[in-house]
Symmetry: C2
Subunit: 228 residues, 2 copies
DNA sequence: TAGATTGTTAATCGATTAACAATC
DNA sequence: TAGATTGTTAATCGATTAACAATC
C-alpha cells in the first residue's frame, strides 16, 4: 500500500520560512520565561521580535494553539511545546569530523549541551591529533570512523574538514546510521534520502552581509544625488 | 526634495531569497571556472545546484543578462559580474570582538582573505589575552575600541562575545563608523539605521537540523504504520 | 458588560515556475 | 536551416497580512 503515498505531498510539513523562525521563537520565549513573564500576547511578542502579530498567531496556531482568547499565550507551555516540536528534549549524540579551527571551536562550545546535544567523539586525518581531547571528547583517527559508528549509534555528524574531503565522508556516515549532517565545509553536500544535510556556509553569510552593505551604500548615494 | 523619496520602495532591492542564492552562484561558477568550463547553460547549472533552470535565468537576468541565446552563459563573465554585485573585489576591513573559541577560530580561518576580507584587529575584555596574536592580528583591550575605530576605518565588526555583552557593543561600533556587524552571539541585536546586522545563530541552525530530522522520522513512522 | 486578544478565513503580496518568442 | 537556449511575460503557487467572529 505504501506505493500510493505521494512523497511530495508531505502532509503537515512545515515550510522553510517557518522552520527558520522556530528556534527564534524558542529562544525568545525562554528569555521571557526567565524574565518572569507568565503570559504574552502576539502583539507584544511581535514588537519584540520584529514580526507581525498576525504571523505569530498563524505560526503558533500551526503548533496546536496554546493561546487563550482575550488573554494571550502561556509562555512556559508554549516554550515547552515548541521545544517538543524542535525535538530539543531528546538527547542527540554528536561527533565532529575535522579538528581544525572550526572543529575545535565547536567542540569546546558549551551551548550545545544546554539543548541536549551531546558531543561523543572527534575524528581527524592528522595522526598527531589522535588521542588529544577537546571539549571533553577524544580525537580518533578518521579511518576508525566506520567501526566507531557500528558500535556507537550517532545522530548527527558535524563536518569541519576542508571542502575537498567532505563529500567522501557522506557515504560512510549514511552507512553507519547517522541521520543528520551539519556541514561547515564550503561545498553543498550530496546525500542519500536516509540522511539530512544542513549546509552552514559561513563565508556565504559574510558575503551576504557585504552585499547588503554595498546595496545600501549605493542606494544612499543615489538618494543624495537626487536631493542635491 | 529628499523627503518625497519613499524609504520602503527601495527600487531594485534584491529579495532575501535571491540574496541567499547569490554566494552559492558565485561559489559554483568559480568551481566551474576552475574545472575549465567556458560556458554553461541554465539547464546544466540548475541540475548541479538543485534549482530550476527558469529560476536561474530569472536571477541572472536581474544581474543584467550575461547569457547568449542558443549558447548559454559565459562562466567567467558571469562570475565576475556576481562578484562585483557582491562587492567581493573591494577590500573589507574586519575586526573581531570576543576572542573565545569562536573568535579564535574565525581569526585563524584562512578563507576570508581569499574574498578580500582583511582581519585588522582583535578585541577582548580579558586582559590576559591582550597583546597575543591570532591569525596575524593582535588582541587589544575592549576599552580601547572607540579610540581604535577613530584612527582605523573599519567596515565590519564580528561579534563573538557572550550574548549578555553583545548589545552594548552596537552603539560604540555605530559611533565609530562601522557599517556592518556579523553577529555570532545568541541574541538578535538591535541596531541603528547606519549599521547592518547579520545574525548567524549557529545553535538555531543545529536546532533546525534536529527538527527536520524529527519531522522526517515521524513521517516515516506514519508511512510504515499505513502500509502495515 | 466592555475591552482584549485569539483562532481562522479571506485578501494580498511576492516568489517560483511555465511558456514561448527571440535569436544565437 | 534546425536545434538549443536565453530573455521575459504570464500563470501558479505559497507565504504574509488583514479582518473579524469567537471568547476569555
Amino acid at each position: 500500500m505504501s506505493e500510493i503515498i505521494d512523497r511530495n505531498n508531505n502532509p503537515g510539513r512545515v515550510s522553510d520560512a517557518m522552520t527558520r523562525r522556530m528556534p527564534a521563537y524558542y529562544r525568545r520565549l525562554l528569555e521571557l520565561e526567565n524574565l518572569g513573564f507568565l503570559v504574552i500576547s502576539s502583539k507584544e511578542l511581535a514588537r519584540r521580535m520584529g514580526l507581525t502579530d498576525s504571523q505569530i498567531r498563524h505560526d503558533f496556531n500551526a503548533f496546536g494553539g496554546f493561546g487563550r482568547r482575550g488573554r494571550g499565550y502561556n509562555v512556559e507551555l508554549l516554550r515547552k511545546a515548541i521545544g517538543d516540536i524542535l525535538d530539543i528534549n531528546r538527547e542527540h549524540n554528536l561527533i565532529i569530523i575535522g579538528i581544525g579551527n572550526m572543529g575545535k571551536a565547536l567542540a569546546q562550545y558549551k551551548g550545545f549541551s544546554e539543548h541536549s546535544f551531546k558531543l561523543m567523539a572527534l575524528f581527524d586525518a592528522n595522526s598527531e591529533l589522535v588521542g588529544k581531547r577537546f571539549g571533553g571528547a577524544r580525537v580518533y583517527a578518521i579511518n576508525g570512523l566506520a567501526k566507531y559508528l557500528q558500535k556507537n549509534p550517532t545522530d548527527i555528524a558535524v563536518i569541519c574538514t576542508p571542502a575537498a574531503g567532505a563529500q567522501e565522508l557522506v557515504e560512510p556516515l549514511a552507512a553507519g546510521g547517522v541521520k543528520g549532517i551539519w556541514n561547515f565545509a564550503a561545498v553543498d553536500l550530496q546525500a542519500p534520502d536516509s540522511i539530512l544535510v544542513n549546509n552552514v556556509h559561513l563565508t556565504d553569510s559574510l558575503m551576504m552581509l557585504a552585499f547588503r552593505m554595498h546595496e545600501k551604500q549605493v542606494l544612499e548615494e543615489d538618494k543624495s544625488w537626487i536631493s542635491e
